[in-house]
């Protein structure tokens, strides 16, 4: 037998799913969101730096302007998905008890939705001034 074990397992043949079909879906999505995250993070840091020390009225006006609001929105949506996958990975690595695992995975989803939708709501409110 060759010293290099084949990567393909009998299960792969049974299921008919190569690793690239769906098995690495989240791996790939984590890469997409990390690439997108680079310019968005730089954008967010620039926005926050520019807003330091400004009055509430000025902050509201700047955060509500289209380019700034869109950048922050993209950052939030992109980061929400990225951190959801990331925390899921951490949970799957360290939480072995089935009940705790299920609960933490649910909590992860709840947290990400709550935090991101809160932020999105705030940006939309600032943008449309409702």
């Amino acid at each position: 037998m060759s010293p290099v074990q084949p990567m393909r397992t009998p299960m792969r043949r049974v299921r008919g799913l190569g690793a690239a079909r769906s098995g690495t879906g989240q791996f790939w999505h984590q890469r997409i969101t990390s690439v997108a995250g680079i310019p968005l993070t730089i954008g967010l840091l620039l926005i926050i730096t520019a807003l330091l020390g400004r009055s509430h009225a000025a902050v509201v006006q700047i955060l509500g302007s289209p380019i700034v609001a869109i950048t922050v929105l993209l950052f939030i949506v992109n980061t929400a998905y990225h951190m959801w996958i990331g925390m899921q990975e951490i949970i799957l690595d360290y939480v072995h008890d089935d009940r705790w695992k299920l609960l933490s995975l649910m909590a992860n989803t709840f947290f990400v939705f709550a935090v991101s939708l809160t932020s999105i709501y705030a940006i939309l409110k600032l943008s449309f001034g409702v």
Binding site: S34, L52, V60, V72, M83, I90, A122, L126
Partner: protein, 142 residues
């Protein structure tokens, strides 16, 4: 019903040998930075609460915004924000390093050490630059 024998089917779990884990290895920069990447990621996960708080306060009105400004301007707030800035930049640079490694480049002994050191030095430098700019040019928080 037949009583299941130890280690055969349901019930008892057989004790199996485990592969060696972190504690037996000498800590190396690449390994420590890999762990730090995960820790900063987890910290940033909860750090999103701060961003959400800041945004919702700005949307709520001057009073709510003044509360956030007060906290961010306090000693604890400043420490948290400084750590947040570093964690964000470090996670970003570490992410770039991982993206480079994803292309199967930068794995040579010297390259990988340099890349890893660059993320650490880079994140600290950028954090300091950003805070100096924040304080000197923009007048700092408040």
């Amino acid at each position: 019903m037949v009583e299941p024998e130890a280690g055969t089917s349901t019930g008892m779990r057989r004790v199996r040998p485990l592969s060696p884990h972190l504690q037996i290895y000498k800590p190396m920069l690449t390994m420590v930075m890999s762990i730090v990447h995960r820790i900063t990621g987890a910290a940033l996960y909860f750090g999103m609460l701060l961003l959400a708080w800041w945004l919702i306060a700005a949307a709520s009105g001057p009073n709510a915004y003044a509360n956030v400004e007060w906290f961010m301007g306090s000693l604890i707030g400043q420490l948290v924000l400084f750590g947040y800035t570093w964690a964000l930049l470090h996670h970003m640079l570490g992410g770039i390093r991982h993206l480079i490694w994803d292309t199967i480049h930068g794995f040579e002994p010297v390259e990988r050490e340099l890349l890893t050191l660059a993320t650490l030095v880079g994140s600290i430098t950028l954090t300091l630059i950003l805070w100096v700019v924040g304080y000197l040019v923009m007048g700092g928080p408040r």
